[in-house]
């Protein structure tokens, strides 16, 4: 656990910002891997512009929840609405019919995902990583897409790296490119799965800074992280997942200083001990 010195924004404190309509509604979601019940009736509503931080022990189901929202895993019960879609299904005469590959892909374009291991495309340059989907999937004009990619690279603080290959970048730089790649699809919601936990300590803040910046610009974000500095600076709510349930849900200060659940107290004592 690194404590980042991220001062909360003075202009717009998280508590003051006006949140929009619900944009992610997770309702009674169940997920099994074989006989292993990983998500147990999980419900969560995230409003437009809101930043939700999820923490919890390893194996509690945090990644699985994000992956279900982005349809990287199929759910076994409940519903997920995100960015205006009923994720993974369409409704016909009150019945839910699973969507095909192409329709799922279409829904996924409206959500951006950032992975622990960056998962940049190693065979193409940084700028091609960012423009690949806009140009090849959305059929955007290539010159325009590249111009926008350059703007995004500036925004994540890497204006001079467009021709580098991912391998030539540090972890922190790669993760910032990954954020730019996701943003290039103009997603309505950004999902982050432990974006800094594969990074050397000195690179963590450069990624968190970009994320705080993004949150200030009104991006809706669900972030799995144990970075309390980020949670304090940017989160509207912090949740604790435990064995497939959300067991605590509170504003950052309450979550860290006056948690209700015994699980949260135990969890906090463990990460603070580091």
């Amino acid at each position: 656990m690194t404590t980042q010195d991220l001062t909360p924004p003075t202009d717009a404190r998280p508590g003051d910002k006006t949140l929009g309509e619900p944009i992610v509604v997770i309702d009674g979601v169940q997920k099994y891997f074989g006989a292993h019940h990983v998500l147990k009736d999980v419900s969560l509503t995230v409003r437009r512009g809101e930043v939700v931080v999820i923490c919890g022990r390893s194996g509690s189901g945090k990644s699985t929840l994000l992956r279900c929202v982005d349809q990287l895993e199929t759910i076994d019960g409940g519903t997920i609405h995100a960015a205006g879609h009923l994720m993974g299904f369409r409704e016909k005469n009150g019945k839910r019919i699973p969507l095909g590959d192409a329709q799922v892909a279409r829904q996924q374009r409206d959500l951006g995902m950032v992975f622990q291991n960056f998962n940049l495309f190693p065979h193409i340059s940084v700028i091609d990583n960012i423009t690949l989907a806009p140009v090849r999937i959305l059929k955007r004009n290539k010159a325009e897409a590249r111009a926008e990619a350059r703007t995004l690279l500036k925004r994540v603080g890497l204006p001079d790296k467009e021709n580098a290959y991912p391998r030539q970048l540090s972890g922190g730089q790669q993760q910032r490119v990954a954020i730019a790649r996701a943003l290039a699809m103009q997603p309505k919601v950004m999902l982050f799965d432990e974006p800094t936990s594969a990074l050397d300590p000195e690179m963590i803040s450069e990624v968190l800074d970009v994320m705080v910046d993004l949150s200030r610009q009104g991006m809706t974000m669900i972030v799995v992280t144990h970075e309390m500095g980020f949670a304090r600076a940017a989160a509207d709510r912090v949740l604790l997942m435990h064995e497939g349930h959300i067991v605590e849900e509170a504003a950052p200060e309450t979550f860290f200083n006056h948690p209700e659940s015994e699980h949260t107290k135990l969890f906090l004592s463990k990460i603070l001990a580091h």
Partner: protein, 244 residues
């Protein structure tokens, strides 16, 4: 001793040998390209197909890897007509070589696809790519890096394997050498020249292969540049640590 330099030099530039070499080249290229197509299809069927498709792919691979190419060629050219399927020499040679090659390439391609990190598929899906788009834009280009070296070796083998098509009278290098040998009985001279031609073709291919491999390795080349100071430090540290 009965060695004739004059025959040897005559064969070196003999029109029939040059033509044969040219046939060997295009026969290899065409068979390889078709074999690659078959290999990709078979690999896809085996990896992503339903039970029936998987079974078909496995049967194909098992059959063509389990029998000699010589028998495959002979069956296609002289056996199939009994079933009413008549293919000319060129068609038979290409079909036999491609089918045989595809069975080997299928396994190489499958291994290449499996070598691509699973996170790549997640990342491609997260930006909204369909299965086809993921395969075409993300997975196969990366699998190529793993596939290229063994693929190059397969093509090296293909250049020589085409000589077997001489048994169905495909007029490539080997067959033309045989014909010359039957005219003038300068067996050693003509086959040595044929061998030299194969050596030349394979050597040229090896040079091309090195370039292709370097091209596909480029994105994966040396990681982030290390400063000279850091490099020295590292060397010192390794020296101090002594042999592991």
């Amino acid at each position: 001793m009965n060695w004739s330099w004059s025959y040897f030099f005559e064969y070196l530039t003999n029109g029939l040998m040059v033509e044969g070499a040219w046939t060997t080249i295009w026969l290899s290229v065409v068979s390889m390209v078709l074999g690659l197509g078959l290999g990709v299809i078979a690999a896809m069927m085996k990896m992503y197909g339903n039970r029936a498709l998987r079974w078909i792919a496995e049967f194909y691979i098992w059959l063509f890897r389990g029998t000699p190419i010589l028998i495959q060629l002979v069956i296609i050219y002289t056996g199939l007509p009994q079933l009413g399927i008549r293919l000319n020499v060129i068609e038979s040679a290409i079909l036999g070589l491609a089918l045989n090659e595809g069975a080997y390439l299928a396994e190489i391609i499958r291994a290449g696809i499996m070598s691509v990190d699973k996170g790549q598929n997640d990342a491609a899906r997260s930006v909204g790519m369909t299965w086809r788009e993921r395969m075409w834009l993300v997975i196969l280009p990366q699998a190529t890096r793993t596939i290229i070296p063994p693929l190059g070796n397969q093509f090296n083998g293909m250049l020589k394997t085409t000589s077997l098509a001489s048994v169905i009278s495909m007029e490539e290098l080997m067959r033309n050498a045989q014909m010359l040998a039957q005219i003038e009985f300068r067996v050693l001279e003509v086959y040595l020249v044929a061998a030299l031609w194969y050596l030349l073709l394979v050597s040229i291919w090896s040079a091309i292969q090195v370039r292709i491999e370097a091209h596909y390795e480029k994105p994966f080349g040396p990681a982030a540049a290390v400063s000279p100071e850091a490099e020295k430090e590292l060397a010192k540290a390794i020296e101090k640590a002594g042999p592991a």
